[in-house]
Amino acid sequence: MDYTIWTIAPIVLLPFFAFVINAFIVKKFTKLAVAISCAAILGSFGFATRIFSDFVFGKYAEDYHIHKVFNWFDLSYGSQIFKLDMGIYIDNMSAVMLFMVTGVASLIHIFSTYYMAEDKRFGRFFVYMSLFTSAMLGLVLSDNLLSVFIFWELMGFCSYSLIGFYYEKEGAGNASMKAFMTTRVGDVFFLLGILAIWSVVGNVTFVDIYRAISDGSFNSLYALGIPLATFAGFSIFMGTIGKSAQFPLQVWLPDAMFGPTPCSALIHAATMVAAGVYLSLRMYPLMEIGHLTTMIAYIGGITAFGAATIALVQTDIKAVLAYSTISQLGYMVLGVGVGSYNAAFMHLITHAVFKACLFLSAGSVIHSLHDHHTHEHVQEMPRMGGLRHKMPFTFWAMMFCTLAIAGVPFFSGFVSKDRILGDALLMALANKTYIVPMVLGFGGALLTAFYMFRMMFLTFFGEPRDKDLYDHTKKEKFSLNRNFPLLLLSVFTLGVFFSGSLTGQGFIKVASEKRYEWFKVLITKPKVEKFASYERQPWGHTDIKSNFQLSEAKYDYNYGLSAKEAHHIHHWHLIGALISIFIAFSGIFIAYMMYIKKAWNPGWWVSMFTRWYRALQNRYYFDDFYIGGLIKKGLLPFNNLLAFIDMGLYDRYAIDGWEKVNRAFYTVSGWFDNIFVDTIAVDGTGASVRLFNVVLRMIQSGKIQLYFMIIVFTLVGFIWTL
């Protein structure tokens, strides 16, 4: 129950040390390096489990958090305070997040020992994975935006290296560059937001930001004519847009599938994209006072729907999953936008579980399908089909996850997504501007159910379309490192682990219902007023839970509202749930009619909406727009202009002109130097010395009789003059 630094820091440090050690030994002892990586992540899973179980299965306490700080550097001078604390902050949300990240990452590590075993850079993959995981864990444990930013960038680097892992492949290098540069756009804004917050709060710790918000420090502060809270919140949300692949900057995530499949699982589920949503949840109070929620809801809705439409026409199994990730992240952001903090976070967790499983299953499928002609693994769905007989375990794992993501009741995706959609529906009722995101959200749910089942039907059902490939595929045998992670993850796609009410709407009363709605009890919006009298603990402090005066968190059936309002909310949540159940099943039904019964011809749709089809295949021309329009038409001419100013004007006139002046000066000064200084002064001195030297050398000849002569003549002359 008591926490010292030595029971928290290993969560980050174990994978990090694994990275450091492996970086040195990976070439010679590949197997050992892999073992170290796996052991490290399992160890940090152990530490995270302890924290998780204390926070979740212990007493439910809303306010219990661990916050330890140390002074990183202090540049204060006189009354100018400039000091920066670093620290660890764990509350309910981070505890759940830590458990999810370490758990999912452990399973991905285990799966990678199967998937990557024949790769020639087997060990190096684990080096990056360890660093990636430790960066994400560090981000979750961070107590301030600056260390969040540091780990955020570290993850950007790791994703760069992992996406470009097969650097021999054409496109992998470009994809990694694209991912890195696109997220960089968001990161610049993020840094700007941190600076804006620093200028108001004088610190970037989360608790200090909350306190400043409750104090009203952000009120009536304007930057460039817009409220500073809006500016800061928007900038930080731009970081989320970049990292979580939201609407304008979503282009990098589909290309991220150039990396190995387990790394895609890690990027799409546990680490990279989750970080963006996690950040905007952490900074939720700032978004709220910045009045950004409507914009966030719109971006989330557009992303959720738009990415789902693109996923409809993808034929690469990983591309479908990549677009489904963008779409699901859109739901999370929509959840943030409509104020369903709890559900957005819950969707982050449930999505991490089922998307990790989906990607690992896709990896299992891809790894089994080996083309004997090209010696490459097959990812195209048109060449699959009927694979459920060959890979029963993978099929069932993927089926569970597909049911979850499609929003079928009793699965986790339903629980979380329908809370978001229910809240969106409520917001749309209260405020007309939210109607568009709500409709986009429900529409996206229909498409999600459709394209996920399309993927399942094309991959696992029907007749094998590439008979040769099918026959060469070995029948799947249960192996621990291949199937165990999949099956374990697929078990956790059941809704009961996340909500006791099965539908997720809290209708079913169980004897002590708070136990069954642990997510709702534990994960609540940070109440900023609480942080007014907040005290942090020094680094070496031991947290003993009994020292805290804690109010036990209660499951408030009415969300703290009056009974009438609560009834209203439940009422609309129920309607939302019914709508989305209907939508999910109709999506599945359409997919069934198109790809199993083949009653409806998808080709008809393509021929009817050719232009739309082409737009979808070209990803709404976003890449064309960014590369052809923005970069080639906008940035490149600007670049050329700058180059002209630099080379044509500055270099040519300022630098070369100055050169001419200098040349004239140095001709004059060179002449002066040669004639006056060198010839007259320097050589003249030498010549005069040489002249005397000739005379003196004559006298001082060493011939003793000459000396006698001189002495005699001198004496004679002396006597003569007397």
Binding site: I704, Q705, V712
Partner: protein, 101 residues
């Protein structure tokens, strides 16, 4: 009558011939002989002055000292000449124009 001036004249002649030997001869031993002549002229001056002017024996004693010193000086000079000859195989004075070998 032998007077002081005749002694001085002989002494002068001795001194000048010693000087000429020192300056003109290239043989180191000859130069040493020239030095002996100069010393002897000095000793003769002492003896002459103490005989005709002071009328005591102090000049004679100084002359004896000079003879002793001349002997010692000749010994040292000849040692140097022998050492020089071992090194250069020559006793020509112009071969001794350098401060180091």
């Amino acid at each position: 009558m032998i007077t002081l001036s005749s002694y001085l004249m002989i002494s002068l002649a001795l001194f000048l011939s010693g000087l000429v030997v020192m300056i003109a001869r290239k043989n180191i031993i000859a130069i040493l002989l020239g030095i002996e002549l100069i010393l002897n002229s000095a000793a003769l001056n002492f003896a002459a002055y103490t005989r005709f002017v002071n009328q005591n024996i102090e000049g004679h004693i100084v002359s004896l000292f000079i003879i002793v010193i001349a002997a010692a000086e000749a010994a040292v000079g000849l040692g140097i000449v022998i050492r020089f000859f071992q090194m250069r195989e020559s006793i020509h004075i112009d071969d001794a124009a350098q401060l180091q070998s």
